[in-house]
């Protein structure tokens, strides 16, 4: 007699749906609804992206502070958290783990914070390209690539070093954009 589950026949029979865990996109937006960073891990047209962004920003901003950080939206799960004036918002699939996604957001905030030194919204506005580089080191294709804070920052700082070596001084006029 095998003390196996009655349901096992089905699950090993290949009838179970295949799930792929994956983050679909990440959006950063302000309390005023201004988009500060967008990262899409699925191919969508610009029009769709704009539509999703508009709807989602509205939905999330309408929620009250003590509400839970997860909501169902279309056939996705939205995980969001507010840090000061910025909302960080990720869309994941049905099978994905909400809590670990919440901590992905937190780790990203920590990385930004460590890199910029108590990060604020302005840092992300003025150095948006850096925010993207850091995100790419941390998450690639929607999956965690490197979760060690030290290793991610090391990679970014190495790049910054390359930048400083390469830059040559510019004339003042050129620097302020008058050329």
């Amino acid at each position: 007699m095998c003390r196996g589950g009655v349901g096992r026949l089905i699950s090993s029979g290949g009838e179970k749906t295949v799930f792929s865990s994956k983050m679909q996109f990440m959006l950063l937006f302000s309390r005023q609804g201004k988009l500060r960073l967008q990262k899409w891990y699925v191919p969508l047209s610009d029009k769709e992206k704009k539509k999703i962004t508009r709807e989602l920003v509205q939905t999330v901003l309408a929620r009250k502070p003590k509400m839970c950080s997860f909501l169902e939206w279309r056939d996705l799960k939205i995980v969001y958290k507010r840090y000061a004036s910025l909302y960080f918002c990720c869309a994941i699939e049905d099978q994905d783990n909400e809590l670990i996604t919440l901590e992905i957001i937190h780790r990203y905030v920590e990385l930004l914070d460590k890199y910029f030194g108590s990060v604020c919204e302005l840092d992300i506005i003025f150095n948006f390209e850096k925010a993207y580089f850091i995100l790419d080191e941390f998450l690639l294709g929607g999956e965690a690539q490197e979760t060690s804070k030290k290793n991610v920052l090391k990679a970014i700082e190495q790049a910054d070093l390359l930048q400083e070596e390469a830059e040559t001084p510019r004339s003042v006029l050129e620097e302020i954009g008058l050329t």
């Binding site: 007699m1 095998c2 196996g4 589950g5 009655v6 349901g7 096992r8 026949l9 089905i10 090993s12 029979g13 009838e15 792929s20 865990s21 988009l35 960073l37 191919p43 009250k64 003590k66 509400m67 839970c68 950080s69 997860f70 169902e72 056939d75 049905d94 783990n97 909400e98 809590l99 670990i100 919440l102 901590e103 937190h106 890199y115 030194g117 302005l122 840092d123 506005i125 003025f126 390209e129 850096k130 993207y132 580089f133 690639l140 294709g141 965690a144 690539q145 979760t147 060690s148 990679a155 190495q158 390359l162 930048q163 390469a166 830059e167 510019r170 050129e174 302020i176 954009g177 050329t179």
Partner: protein, 984 residues
């Protein structure tokens, strides 16, 4: 580090961003942007060649403008130029631009790919990473074509740096998801699995995502990852919080990696190797134990990371669905979370419990939390949490708590958020139907639904209540009375008027005896609503009126007057006008007999799947209703609806008997336990006597007694009661009671397996029977899995297989060994049947199962899904051969043909899959009409081979098929034709 030091590379960009931020209005911003775009355009077009720095700066400005939401239609070429710069930052900005603004311009893609290729072969790890990030971000098919073979090489090469490996793994994952056909498995795959052992935690973290995805598609090839994943997980779970250094997150060792490992294991069944399995169970227990330990930090990040692992572990436990102990522990843990002060945890606990509710091991444990969940539905302040609570109530509902849950959901509906009302209505309607034991409750519930949330009650819901009332004459009088009362409300929903009109039109006579609901009172009540209703409802009411004329001749004059008035007979709506004119004419010309025939009571509706379920499924997607649940529902819906071959009460009663040990079963149990002196010898013998002549003659008193009892019994699985109890010593002899007649649905169950070999054959509240089978030539082997769904032992479990016709002329030879007579609660036993096909056959073998559950004997008979097509050998042939043979089989009796309506999807792929499942070869390019399908095969029996040709002609427009079979043996043509006509 001060913020300014980071952006000082491009002060011009910072100035531009400041300008934009200082714009007072949207117009000013657009003006500033347009100025900048003009400036950049002129720079790019200018004669003076731009240096790398300027290009970088302008490209970056374009990117910023794009991210503000404006369209960018130039600058791509400059960005591509930056890719080949040997300055890192220029290259980096170039790649960023490409990643964000990828354009399917093929010319550009070639240039981009070229740059990427150079960087990949540069052996400079930072450049390689940039290139890999770009591929992972864009992930287009063109890139897959260019790099799908190169990246695996980088991934497994011995000298690749760790950071490059990490990027390569996830890059490959992205390409595999976009273009799985281009990523070829090969020698690298086994090496990828071993990355799970890599010393660098980051490499493992990245590689495991790739491995998980590949395992889902190629489980066998990646099987070795299971034991590697278990040992890795075990090392992490047992490590101290400081062991993993920077991979420890708020005192939790490697939470991301742990979750991914647990997710990977969910691609596989429980490990077969006992040692591996033991180690894994230990891990899962440790994770559950840790949840009970005091937190190492008060930070929410600590508890989130810890609980993320816990929830993933619970998912795995649910996936295995085989460790009752772990399932119950998981359920208890979630029960604690239901009352946690963190909203997030309450939400997740409700969500996770939903899946636990569908496991037979934990269903009962979940049910104990019903009060908490109801409370959550009432008091949670967040609608998304309330939604979860409603979902869980739906999932935990069964016959024992249906009334309570439905009542709670109904009362919640009164205040429910608009966003979830429609779904709630559907769920209430489904539960009420599924668990209705008495139909007056069902009718009350649906009418309440209409009263409370009429706007959200879709057509399907009120259609369904009418179908059920029409098909069940025991509830018609009650329905008429209730709906009559509901219509008394001064304001009632239009849906109520529709149901009321229909039901009173059909069954108003059942309450007409009461002067308070005399025919005229009924009519006046309905007609008082008429003018407030929409056109379709009015049309329905007109039909109800003409039915009234037939039911109650005394209302004829009144109704004719109504039909005759201008607002009806000259109504501007054509449909209403036509009905009024026709009904008026009909009522004045036709004789009573004709009227009675035309307006006869509606015949019962054919048995069909509840349309409500289909609707819920469509609305919610697969998440809401699991497939098994749907099938479950379908069966139960059928039972409700199809009262034709049983007495009206039997199905509901049989169902309620089956679901829980009912009081009567208990009684019988007691009786069987008491030694009833002389009974055993005599009791069972009546049947033996009648059917086999083998039994000893029984004392006449006993015979009479038993015979009387038997007559009273319903022919259902729970029935044999007394008679059976008497023959308690039947273990040694073949079971002395008569095997029950095959279940009414036995044929439907059989039909489900014509084109497939594995699946669940049968399931009720007690027992699940699964099947796996394989056939070769004229031999077959079938594995039957009997699962005890209850927590109580099944005793005297016996199964018998019998082949019809075996006495005179054996067609099938089925051999098996007896199963063990005891099946523990929650356990599964297996039985192997060896089948030999001696000659072609039409009747399926019967499987009779008997066992005692709580003292009551269960006796059911099913048809084993052994059909003649299982012994097909596919035959490939060319068009010419096919038609030659087709002509050879031209005698009329060799051909069987059927034209029938499509019952399932007519989708090509679905049809092909079914035809292949049939066992024949599906022949391409044979039929001149490409829409048609032709198949050929040879049926192998011991005595002979029967060649069969098949042609299926779909007509998508008419939703019809014509099926033609020609076989060298006419009985085979006929049988195959019967079988197949049910499949499409």
């Amino acid at each position: 580090m001060p913020a300014v030091s980071k952006g000082d590379g491009m002060r011009g960009l910072a100035v531009f961003i400041s300008d934009i931020r200082n714009c007072k209005s949207k117009e000013a911003e657009i003006k500033r942007i347009n100025k900048e775009l003009a400036n950049i355009r002129s720079k790019f077009k200018g004669d003076k060649a731009l240096d790398g720095y300027s290009k970088k700066k302008y490209v970056c400005k374009l990117l910023f403008i794009f991210l503000l939401g404006h369209d960018i239609d130039f600058g791509h070429m400059e960005a591509v130029n930056l890719l080949s710069s040997n300055k890192y930052t220029e290259k980096q900005i170039g790649y960023l631009f490409i990643s964000v603004l990828v354009n399917s311009n093929s010319e550009l893609i070639r240039l981009i790919n070229n740059a990427i290729k150079n960087d990949l072969s540069s052996r400079n790890p930072t450049f390689m990473c940039l290139a890999l990030h770009c591929i992972a971000n864009v992930g287009s098919r063109e890139m897959a074509e260019a790099f799908a073979s190169e990246i695996p090489r980088i991934l497994v090469a011995g000298d690749t740096m760790d950071s490059v490996k990490q990027s390569a793994a996830l890059c490959l994952l992205r390409l595999y998801k976009t273009s799985p056909d281009l990523v070829l498995m090969g020698e690298w795959t086994s090496r990828v699995v071993h990355l799970l052992n890599d010393q660098h935690m980051g490499v493992v973290t990245a590689a495991i995502s790739l491995i998980t995805c590949l395992s889902q598609k190629n489980p066998d090839e990646f099987k070795t990852c299971v034991s590697l994943a278990v040992s890795r997980l075990s090392r992490i779970v047992s490590s101290a919080s400081t062991d993993l250094q920077d991979y420890t997150y708020y005192f939790v060792p490697a939470p991301w990696l742990s979750c991914k490992l647990l997710r990977l294991l969910q691609c596989y069944p429980p490990p077969e190797d006992g040692a591996v399995k033991g180690r894994l169970v230990e891990c899962l227990e440790t994770i559950l134990n840790k949840a009970q330990e005091p937190p190492k930090s008060k930070k929410v990040q600590h508890s989130n990371a810890k609980n993320a692992i816990l929830f993933e572990a619970i998912s795995l436990i649910i996936h295995y669905d085989s460790e009752p102990n772990l399932l119950v522990r998981a359920c208890n843990q979630l029960g604690q979370f239901l009352q946690h002060r963190e909203t997030n945890l309450r939400y997740l606990a409700l969500e996770s419990m939903c899946t636990l509710a569908s496991s037979e091991f934990s269903h009962e444990a979940v049910k104990t939390h019903i009060e908490t969940v109801i409370n959550a539905l009432k008091t949670e302040r967040d609608v998304s949490v309330r939604q979860r609570a409603a979902d869980l109530l739906y999932a935990m509902c069964d016959r024992s708590n249906a009334k309570q849950i439905v009542a709670e959901m109904l009362s919640y509906l009164e205040t429910a958020d608009y966003s979830i009302r429609e779904e709630m209505v559907l769920k209430v309607a489904i539960l009420a139907e599924k668990y209705a034991v008495d139909y007056s409750w069902y009718v009350d519930t649906i009418l309440n639904l209409i009263r409370i949330a009429g706007d959200y009650v879709s057509e399907e819901v009120w259609y369904r209540v009418i179908q059920i009332v029409i098909n069940r004459d025991d509830v018609q009088g009650y329905a008429a009375k209730t709906v009559f009362e509901a219509l008394q409300a001064p304001a009632c929903h239009e849906n109520m008027v529709k149901v009321g009109g229909y039901i009173l039109g059909e069954f108003g006579n059942l309450i007409a005896g009461d002067p308070r609901s005399s025919p005229l009172v009924q009519f006046n009540l309905l007609h008082s609503k008429f003018h407030l209703c929409s056109v379709p409802t009015r049309a329905l009411l007109l039909s109800a009126y003409i039915k009234f004329i037939n039911l109650f001749p005394e209302t004829k004059a009144t109704i004719q007057e109504v039909l005759r008035c201008d607002s009806q007979i000259r109504n501007s709506d054509v449909e209403l006008q036509q009905r009024a004119v026709e009904y008026l004419k009909l009522s004045s010309i036709a004789s009573t007999d004709v009227l009675a025939t035309v307006l006869e009571e509606m015949p019962p509706f054919p048995e069909r799947e509840s349309s409500i379920l289909a609707k819920l499924k469509k609305k919610k997607g697969p998440g809401a209703v699991s497939v098994t649940e749907l099938e479950d529902n379908k069966r139960e819906g059928g039972e409700l609806n199809g009262g034709s071959d049983r007495g009206p009460d039997t199905s509901a009663m049989a169902a309620s008997n089956a679901s829980t040990p009912s009081p009567s079963a208990d009684l019988l149990g007691i009786r069987s336990a008491a030694p009833v002196g002389a009974a055993p010898a005599s009791a069972g013998s009546l049947l033996v006597d009648v059917f086999s002549e083998a039994g000893p003659a029984a004392p006449s008193a006993a015979v009479n007694d038993d015979g009387f009892l038997r007559d009273l019994e319903q022919p259902t699985e729970t029935s044999d009661s007394l008679l059976v109890e008497g023959s308690g010593d039947s273990d040694s002899a073949p079971p002395s009671e008569d095997p029950a007649a095959p279940l009414p649905e036995a044929d439907d169950l059989l039909n489900k397996f014509v084109c497939k070999n594995n699946g669940v054959l049968f399931e009720n509240q007690l027992l699940q029977i699964g099947i796996k089978s394989e056939y070769r030539q004229n031999l077959g082997r079938m594995y039957l899995f009997y699962g005890n769904k209850t927590s109580v032992q099944f005793a005297s479990f016996t199964t018998t297989v019998s082949c019809p016709g075996e006495l005179h002329r054996p067609q099938l030879n089925v051999q098996t060994k007896p199963v063990e007579p005891l099946v523990e609660g929650g356990a599964q036993i297996q039985q192997v049947l060896n089948i030999e096909c001696l000659t072609d056959f039409s009747e399926a073998p019967l499987l009779n199962i008997k066992f005692r559950y709580g003292g009551a004997l269960q006796n059911l008979t099913l048809k084993l899904p052994v059909t003649i097509n299982k012994f097909f050998q596919p035959t490939e042939m060319a068009s010419q051969d096919f038609f030659q043979r087709w002509k050879q089989l031209s005698q009329p009796q060799q051909e069987a043909q059927k034209i029938f309506k499509a019952n399932h999807s007519m989708d090509t792929e679905v049809l092909k899959a079914k035809l292949l499942g049939l066992g024949t070869a599906l022949l391409d390019n044979v039929d001149p009409n490409p829409e048609n399908y032709v198949c050929a095969g040879v049926i192998q029996t011991k005595g002979q081979q029967v060649g069969c040709l098949l042609r299926l002609e779909p007509n998508a427009q008419a939703q019809m098929y014509r099926l033609t079979l020609r076989c060298s043996k006419d009985s085979v043509s006929k049988r195959l034709c019967e079988l197949l006509a049910e499949q499409f």
